[in-house]
Amino acid sequence: MSDPVTPTQQEVLDTLAGFLREIVAEPWIAEVPITMETSFSQDLELESIEFVALATKLRDRYGFEAEFTDWLAGLEFEEIIALRVGSLVEFILRCHSPR
């Protein structure tokens, strides 16, 4: 019984990967596979300010606001540093699943 507008995991992952490539805008990022397991920090060496830009693009696309700051506020600083692509994708899917 999923909401007809609920995006699939693959759609969110593809959107996120596209945004990442736009933000980083360096040749290597096009070659790197971006999966649910990819670590923003360890695998991509993403700067924190680039993560902010990614979150903003995703927020504008998927329309979450309070849920996102709540989710972020609930994470420890070290957890944010260790964040994987999958955690962000799952957060977006949770926001869109019927309560």
């Binding site: 300010i49 830009a53 700051t69 600083f77």
Partner: protein, 251 residues
């Protein structure tokens, strides 16, 4: 949002949450709006409308070649606040960002609700022990960085390379070092004019700690709270920092 053009530059801005307005400012050289975005801002955004921005030359804001003096950077803040919220705004600044907030509060007291000065350095020319730091060759700078900052920059990787490029730009190609060194002290007689409530939040082991004591004496409605850690206590003790900010802003 996320970009706002004012004062001749395009600023990277982020607004989070809703409620009474708060603007948060990061420090120079090693900072950008991620300092607050990944620490106190999300928790504050549950009960406040929070504005974050990258100072000129920092983060994703335009890399200005000049205007790193306090007057110009205060004008940047004034312009951004004009488009942000008509209500009096609370200001939270770290390091040089605290001096910008302080200077705005002196200029426009009617626009400021509450003020948090987190490890503000005085005189401003002492910011980040800047003169000693900028004299180092770039490869030495990485080693001279404070531990909480270095921890987030694994050696040799993309992030540290980009970080050093940003530092080099500010230090070697802009008026930044000259502007900071030329900045005069704020006299106690000016600080005594502040009419809003002020929280001076300082790192227990920060070199700036005596400045907190000076501000406490000079500013009428001020209190001083010490947080475990050095100059970068918002990164070293983020939960405690957030708790102090919430208590003061909601008080």
């Amino acid at each position: 949002m996320p970009f706002t053009s004012v004062n001749g530059l395009r600023f990277h801005t982020e607004a989070l949450g809703s409620g009474p307005p708060v603007a948060m400012l990061h420090g120079l050289l090693v900072g950008n709006l991620a300092l607050w975005y990944f620490t106190a801002a999300p928790a504050l955004a549950r009960s406040h409308r929070v504005l974050l921005y990258d100072l000129r030359g920092h983060g994703r804001t335009d890399r200005s070649l000049d205007g790193y003096d306090l007057a110009t950077m205060t004008r940047d803040l004034a312009c951004l606040l004009e488009g942000f919220d008509a209500r009096p705004v609370s200001l939270v600044g770290h390091s040089y960002g605290a001096l910008i907030a302080l200077s705005y509060a002196l200029l426009r007291p009617e626009r400021v609700a509450r003020l948090v000065l987190a490890d503000a350095p005085l005189p401003p020319s002492r910011a980040e022990e800047v003169s000693a730091f900028v004299a180092l060759p770039p490869q030495e700078m990485a080693k001279a960085l404070p531990e909480p900052v270095r921890r987030s920059l694994p050696g040799g990787g993309r992030r540290s390379v980009r970080f050093l490029q940003a530092l080099e730009f500010l230090i070697a190609r802009t008026s930044f070092p000259r502007d900071i060194v030329a900045e005069p002290d704020l006299p106690d007689s000016a600080l005594a004019q502040l009419s809003c409530e002020v929280l001076c939040l300082y790192g227990e082991s920060s070199l700036c700690r005596p400045v907190g004591e000076r501000l406490l004496r000079a500013i009428p409605k001020s209190k001083l709270v010490l947080v475990p850690g050095g100059h970068y206590f918002p990164l070293e003790a983020p939960e405690l920092t957030t708790a102090h900010l919430l208590e003061f802003l909601n008080g």
